[in-house]
């Protein structure tokens, strides 16, 4: 079967080798993806036509900057489906921080590709070994009750990087209050159990919950040195409890007895899917499967490395929705000097862009209706 350009890219396991060869592969894949959505989704075609940039204009790698992008919140408001509803295998949602849910639609093609991408990325980090027996502690919603929640999906996926020995989802569905609740006591018990097992441990999920569990520990644990923590999604609703990154890492090292190099935060968006995971130096890397462009928040001009601006993300793997080029509301900056030696830019997050409270005494209707 003829492998198309997108599949070629996703199948390439040199996850962080951003050389001209891979740039070229990325361009080809993007051309295919762009044409696909442009041809199959009329409203997207209209959007691009209004924008003044269509697939025929995407000729060289440098043209990628000129591609139209969709603001990520659009996917919260509108169903922009390029494929037929029946082709959608899975709908993933994310509660997000702003109130409205995000949606990601995955068909077989997209699903297959993103799984490949994730395996390739973590393989490069040495964290992919399907025969390694591992105990999992997930600070995420129990997938039994929340299979379609983004974090639950990605953690479920991340739990397949190794062979599961035991797994525990700590945010249990409490039938009495009909809501999810962190089971702190059980989590500690599980940790104790995993410590005795001596197998590598993987802790996944939201950092705030992990912090909640370990912050008051008198005596810590001594987990296997081969243990990893993959956290992501930020502090969300517990923003006011957020502690500085270094402090958090030191605390984990102290309380769990594992090297802090094995703590890996990740940046990801449910509408985008490609993870920007930290390397052993705690720098988030861009992989060959996507590109990060930093734009001036006002003029939207592309900013050079070192300058902070809005984060734009491009990836060709998504077959379902035209989220192949999106502008996020997050601020970030790119640089190229990670001591880990990977030939890939590092994305540093600079917080969420936008105002929570408008200056002055005006209020907007949307704020009122929230």
């Amino acid at each position: 079967m003829h492998k198309n350009n997108v599949d070629v890219l996703c199948g390439d396991n040199a996850a962080f080798l951003l050389d001209s060869n891979h740039d070229n592969m990325f361009l080809k894949a993007m051309k295919d993806a762009f044409s696909f959505h442009y041809l199959h989704l009329p409203v997207y075609k209209k959007y691009c036509d209004n924008y003044g940039f269509t697939p025929k204009d995407l000729k060289k790698y440098g043209d990628l900057n000129k591609m139209p992008f969709i603001f990520v919140n659009v996917f919260k408001q509108k169903k922009l489906l390029t494929v037929k509803d029946k082709d959608v295998q899975m709908i993933i949602t994310s509660s997000g921080t702003g109130g409205r849910k995000s949606y990601m639609y995955l068909d077989n093609i997209s699903l297959r590709r993103i799984i490949k991408i994730i395996y390739n990325i973590y393989n490069d980090f040495g964290m992919y070994n399907r025969s390694q027996k591992t105990n999992y502690l997930c600070f995420t919603y129990d997938p039994l009750y929340a299979a379609d929640v983004g974090t639950a999906f990605s953690d479920k996926l991340l739990a397949t990087l190794t062979l599961i020995n035991k797994i525990y989802y700590s945010i249990e569905f409490d039938k009495r209050i009909k809501d999810f609740r962190l089971n702190k006591e059980k989590s500690l018990k599980v940790l104790k159990d995993y410590e005795q097992d001596g197998l590598p441990v993987r802790i996944l999920g939201l950092p705030a919950f992990l912090y909640e569990v370990i912050k008051d520990l008198g005596k810590g644990f001594k987990l296997s040195r081969k243990s990893h923590i993959i956290i992501g999604g930020g502090w969300k609703t517990l923003k006011d409890k957020e502690i500085p990154k270094d402090e958090f890492r030191a605390l984990i090292e102290e309380k769990l007895g594992m090297p802090k190099e094995n703590i890996r935060d990740l940046y990801g968006l449910v509408e985008h899917g490609v993870p920007y995971s930290e390397c052993e130096y705690a720098n988030m890397h861009v992989s060959i499967y996507s590109r990060v462009i930093i734009r001036d928040p006002g003029t939207l001009k592309v900013l050079p490395p070192g300058k902070t601006g809005l984060i734009q993300l491009q990836t060709p793997y998504i077959n379902t929705i035209p989220a192949i080029s999106i502008l996020t509301g997050d601020m970030g900056v790119l640089h190229y000097d990670c001591p880990c030696g990977r030939k890939s830019p590092v994305l540093k997050l600079m917080g969420r862009g936008g105002v929570h409270k408008h200056k002055g005494c005006a209020i907007t209707a949307l704020d009122i209706l929230k």
Partner: protein, 894 residues
């Protein structure tokens, strides 16, 4: 480093103020509350006014500093910051402050003292609440200053929380206030401190120890102050608000597209849409069809053009993100065919989203406007009800027929304020804010009810205030004001200063010639401003050029208040039916002033006017059983004669208040007999130029009056030397008006002679007594008009054979005035005296229409001209060389 302002002093601290420090400040505030320095509202207004004037000066150092700092702090262009400063400074203008107080609190002196309420018949006073804490919002530029000024006007102790976003501007304002307020009358009662918002223990303490909290800000801040608020503390909330415009097709057509777009662009641009009064949505009638497209184009071009005057500010990165988001989301909606997006090319300086499907859209402000069509105003209003609490201003452009319907729909959906387009951002001083009169909320009304005799307690409460230092202060104020704003006085008082009473005594006096030469229509040198919001009255000169007097509406209102008091003290009560028989027309003041005063007393008022037909007057009086009349003596006497002659029985006039001239003793007896009158008193001593000067009480008789000492300072001077005469001695009455600022009169000669009476009155009112003793100059009032000899002289000056020796004699016949003009012949030659006297009389009546009129109306019973041989007019002093008295008044008024 944080700067704070603590009761007049700036202090700096490393950190925010601690709970302990705040408690110290609140303790000082409590002490102040219990012992508030007595500062009059006029002093407060003056200090604020002067502060405002400073801010308006381009060279003012704090203005310059603010213009340098504020754009960076609040994200305004320098032009917009200047606009905000100008508006703030304008709001402190004396006129605007007074207007605001007048509208919101009736009478500003209620803030100083108990004032008798004529209609309600009780005393009222406005008392401050005590300690008012203002929680200022981030980035509302002049908002904290506005809040503070309201606290100052209402004489509260003010504690201001400086917002973290803008801790600068309030402090600059306080610095300027400190420059003006040298005696620390105001600044000693203000603290402005920086503490961290959301600090629970500090907020708790503020709630506990303040009497009132004014909170500005978002829902969260408002809620956090609502929570656990002690019952004794009141909360005034200025939460966030939303505003919009409504345009109809007819309205647009009438205004014209370019003009409408221009005005709306201005509304959008002002304060970068961050004010609660800024429009976020323009609702346009959907049946406008094609006109909508044209409107969008016009608005786009105006929003581009307005950048010249109001450059787009440098926004924060977060604000830029908001605009970017909103634009991108709208563009996808556009691809779906839901809306159209128009935006500036290279920057974010304007965005128009024409939202055809009326979906809620993000509104990032900063010149981002949503235009939505609406079919039916009722439906629109229904939809807007969802956000009722947050609604503030709507500007409406509609034809007059639609207008009120639209407004009433919008009001039902929660709108507090309706303006024209282009006027959304500029609040009219005194208008309510967010549906409330702000000043009133910072005060409590205190009243004293059921008092049998008002003046006794009045004086007990207020006597201290009329004592000499206060009087001198009042005189100084008007002196200082006049020389600043009136070119006439500026020139007159060049190089003069008044520090003592002697300084005042040595100031030059002025007379009516000074007045008429320097006021319109001749020239405007004496007035302190141009003619606006004012009355022009004529003093009704008999011949020659009419003489005019000028009052602002506020001043005229004050006059009618005084007349109300005057009539009350003279005996008019709200149970009376009172006929106003003063003369109406010809720019005369009395008739309308009397109506206004009677209205305030609450009696039945009959605006009859003495120049009406006598039969009508009689019929009105009898039909409505008038029991009191006010008017000129000659008219009242004519009325009595008529009643007597026609043997009318059913008219009994219990009370007569007269003005303009006096009744003779005989006339009083006659009136009592014919009309059954019990009270005959002066309706007050007043002149058109000077206004009210004196009033009578139940104990004053004949021509004795009390001085209206709150309003006028009366001084008796020697007409020759112009020095003040000792108490009791006769001289010319000169007046200094303490409250007339538009046409100030300082040491103004009334032309009336009089004397101060040393004894105090039995009535205990405390106002000094004086007695009127006629005119100083050669003028006689007969039949209600003033006759000047030199004017009469013109009627015969050119007739050969007549000398220039003549005399005017006033007499009474059947209690009515008679004027006789006596003229001596040059020599003993024979003349036809009858013919000559008829010719002269004819001349007089031709040149003096008023005299002719009063004669015709028989207010003046008769006019005689006597031609006499030489030497027949009596001389005063030695024989033929003695002086001929120009005017002889044989009427007995005492």
């Amino acid at each position: 480093m944080h700067t704070h302002f603590v009761f007049g002093e700036f202090i700096e601290t490393e950190d925010y103020v601690s709970l302990k420090e705040l408690n110290g400040i609140l303790s000082r505030a409590e002490k102040l509350r219990d012992n508030m320095p007595a500062v009059g509202i006029d002093d407060i207004i003056e200090i604020l006014h002067k502060t405002g004037l400073r801010w308006l000066r381009k060279s003012y150092h704090l203005r310059k500093k603010a213009l340098k700092l504020m754009p960076g702090i609040v994200g305004f262009s320098a032009e917009m910051a200047a606009e905000a400063i100008n508006q703030m400074a304008q709001s402190l203008n004396e006129k605007n402050l007074k207007r605001k107080i007048r509208i919101q609190l009736r009478d500003r002196y209620l803030l100083d003292k108990f004032i008798f309420q004529l209609k309600e018949r009780n005393y009222l006073k406005l008392q401050s609440l005590g300690i008012v804490s203002h929680i200022s919002a981030g980035n509302v530029f002049a908002g904290p200053v506005d809040s503070l000024v309201q606290g100052i006007l209402t004489k509260n102790v003010n504690v201001l929380k400086l917002s973290a976003a803008d801790p600068v501007f309030p402090l600059l304002f306080l610095e300027s206030l400190r420059e003006v307020d040298k005696d620390k009358k105001i600044i000693s009662t203000i603290a402005a401190v920086a503490f961290k918002g959301g600090t629970k223990d500090i907020e708790k303490e503020l709630k506990k120890r303040s009497d009132c909290i004014v909170v500005w800000g978002g829902d969260e801040t408002v809620e956090s102050y609502r929570k656990e608020l002690p019952v004794k503390t009141s909360l005034i909330e200025y939460g966030p608000k939303i505003s919009f415009s409504v345009l109809t097709c007819d309205g647009l057509k009438k205004k014209g597209m370019p003009q409408a777009a221009k005005l709306i662009a201005k509304d959008i641009v002002m304060w970068e849409q961050r004010a609660c009064s800024s429009p976020q949505v323009i609702y346009i009638e959907s049946k406008c069809n094609k006109a909508i497209g044209a409107f969008l184009e016009a608005l786009a071009s105006e929003l581009s053009a307005i950048k010249k005057n109001y450059p787009y500010p440098e926004l924060s990165s977060d604000e830029k993100v908001e605009i970017t988001k909103a634009r991108l989301i709208s563009k996808m909606d556009e691809a779906f065919g839901e809306c159209e997006v128009l935006e500036s090319d290279k920057d974010q300086s304007w965005t128009i989203v024409y939202d055809k499907q009326d979906k809620e859209k993000p509104s990032p402000l900063n010149r981002f406007i949503c235009v939505k069509p609406y079919d039916d105003i009722n439906k629109l209003a229904g939809k807007l009800k969802k956000i009722r609490y947050y609604m503030q201003t709507a500007s409406v452009l509609a034809n007059p027929k639609e207008f009120m319907h639209i407004v009433s729909c919008l009001v039902s959906s929660g709108i507090d304020r309706v303006t024209e387009i282009g006027k959304m951002s500029s609040g009219k001083p005194g208008s309510p804010h967010d549906g409330k009169f702000e000043l009133e909320q910072l005060l409590r009304w205190v009243n004293i009810e059921s008092l049998p005799e008002r003046f006794d307690i009045m004086k007990n409460l207020q006597y201290e205030e009329v004592k000499k230092p206060a009087l001198f202060h009042a005189i100084y104020e008007i002196f200082d004001f006049s020389r600043k704003f009136s070119p006439f006085y500026k020139n007159l008082y060049k190089g003069r200063e008044i520090k003592t009473w002697d300084d005042f005594y040595s100031l030059p006096v002025i007379d009516k010639h000074d007045l008429y030469k320097n006021t319109p229509p001749k020239r405007n040198k004496l007035l302190t401003g141009s003619l606006s919001e004012s009355y022009i009255f004529s003093s009704g000169g008999t011949t020659g050029a009419p003489k005019f007097s000028f009052y602002t509406y506020e001043e005229f209102e004050q006059v009618t208040d005084i007349l109300t008091d005057t009539y009350l003290s003279a005996g008019i009560r709200n149970t009376d039916v009172v006929a106003n028989l003063f003369v109406a027309g010809n720019l005369w003041a009395s008739f309308m002033a009397v109506n206004a005063a009677l209205e305030k007393i609450g009696c039945v008022t009959m605006p009859v006017a003495g120049n009406s037909d006598m039969d009508s007057i009689i019929s009105f009086l009898s039909s409505f059983k008038a029991n009191a009349v006010l008017g000129l003596p000659s008219i009242i006497l004519q009325l009595a004669h008529y009643i007597e002659a026609k043997k009318i029985k059913n008219i009994k006039i219990e009370k007569i208040l007269y003005g303009g001239e006096h009744f003779t003793v005989e006339a009083r007896k006659y009136l009592k007999k014919v009309l059954g009158t019990k009270i005959i008193r002066s309706a007050g001593y007043a002149s058109v130029d000077a206004g009210p000067i004196g009033y009578q009480c139940e104990h004053t008789k004949d021509t004795v009056h009390h001085v209206l000492s709150d309003y006028v300072y009366v001084q008796i001077i020697d007409p020759e030397t112009l020095n003040p005469v000792p108490v009791g001695q006769t001289g010319e009455i000169t007046v200094t008006l303490l409250k007339r600022k538009f046409m100030p009169l300082i040491k103004y000669r009334t032309g009336d002679s009089g004397r101060i009476i040393a004894e105090s009155c039995h009535c205990a009112r405390g106002d000094v007594l004086f007695e009127l003793l006629g005119r100083c100059d050669d003028v006689v009032r007969v039949g209600s008009v003033s006759i000047y000899p030199h004017e009469i002289e013109q009627a015969f000056r050119d007739i050969p054979g007549l000398s220039h020796i003549y005399q005017l004699v006033a007499d009474t016949k059947r209690n009515k005035d008679i004027l006789t003009v006596r003229i001596e012949l040059k020599d003993d030659r024979k003349v036809d005296k009858k013919a000559l006297s008829a010719r002269i009389k004819d001349n007089i009546l031709k040149q003096d229409f008023e005299l002719a009129w009063v004669l015709q109306e028989r207010w003046l019973e008769d006019l005689f001209v006597e031609i006499l041989p030489p030497g027949r007019i009596p001389r005063t002093g030695a024989g033929q060389r003695g002086k001929v008295k120009r005017v002889v008044d044989n009427r007995k008024i005492k």
